[in-house]
């Protein structure tokens, strides 16, 4: 059966089919694209965590690791013994001494008694400094306390 009449023009059905094909080729899937972009933005928002403390430390590494809750307050001690503190939202700020650290911890705990704290210390730091930080946290009745560590790989064991 021919798709054209004797004058050489295509049948109306054929014309409509060709138009449908042409339309489908020209259409931009904006709805699907918008959905995808929204999804990607959501992923970035969920996964991205601004690093509140930029202190450069050589972290100890452990096999047993707990997941540190999001938004935990951070107290860092670098190799030189410099302390910095962040409530978990803003960037960390230097802390001059243990008294100032105690005031900072007390302030954070008074605002949110369940806020966890993370101690981020260089592996070569003297324990005495870390001990003072833990004592300050305990004195203020801080909730959960974590020692930040890197994951130790099985190949490194033994």
């Amino acid at each position: 059966m021919s798709a054209a009449d004797p004058a050489g023009r295509p049948e109306p059905d054929v014309i409509r089919a060709r138009q449908r094909v042409r339309q489908s080729q020209l259409s931009v899937p904006t709805a699907a694209m918008a959905g995808l972009v929204l999804l990607l933005v959501t992923i970035v928002l969920v996964v991205y965590r601004p690093d509140v403390d930029r202190a450069l430390v050589d972290l100890p590494r452990t096999i047993v690791c707990d997941t540190v809750p999001r938004g935990a307050a951070v107290i860092s001690i670098d190799r030189g013994g410099m302390m910095r503190a962040s409530a978990g939202v803003d960037a960390s700020a230097p802390v001059a001494n243990v008294d100032e650290l105690e005031r900072f911890v007390a302030d954070v705990v008074s605002r949110d008694p369940t806020r966890p704290f993370v101690i981020k210390a260089d592996r070569n730091t003297r324990y005495e400094l870390v001990d003072r930080v833990i004592a300050a946290l305990r004195a203020s009745r801080a909730g959960a306390i974590y020692l930040l560590a890197g994951q130790r790989l099985i190949d490194e064991v033994g």
Binding site: A32, L36, L39, L40, I43, V46, V47, R49, D58, P60, T62, I63, V64, C65, D66, T67, V68, R70, A72, V118, A121, D122, R123, N124, T125, R126, Y127, E128, L129, V130, D131, R132, I134, A135, L137, R138, G143, A144, I145, Y146, L147, L148, A149, G150, Q151, R152, G158
Partner: protein, 136 residues
Amino acid sequence: MLNLVFLVVVSMMIAMVLSADKGLDITAATAAPGSGNAAGAEAILVRVRADGTLLVDGKSLESERIAGYLKSKIDPGSSPATISRPVLLRPDADAPYGTIVDALDELRQVRARLRLGAELHISLAMHSESASALAR
């Protein structure tokens, strides 16, 4: 499209897991004496010296041998195996922090290595407080 969404969701889950900070929860280890952490029994003392070496009940041990030593401290006849004596980790003030974390990590693995029925009661002695109060 559905495949793409699925892939993106899986990627997101993996990224979330990988991006999470890891650390040792020492809340219980640093709890105040008498808060239910340490039993009344005499503690097994793990001392971390300034040079990074370990003394376990006065004996020099490498950290990898702690589990082997603690095997002898399993309560006789306990089933599942249990070590009821608390472990007191007492670092010297000058001890490198990394060594203390290494020791804590080893102690946290003892349960799995010795197939204990319960976690060890680990306490971290504080210099700013009376260590003897923790050890009791």
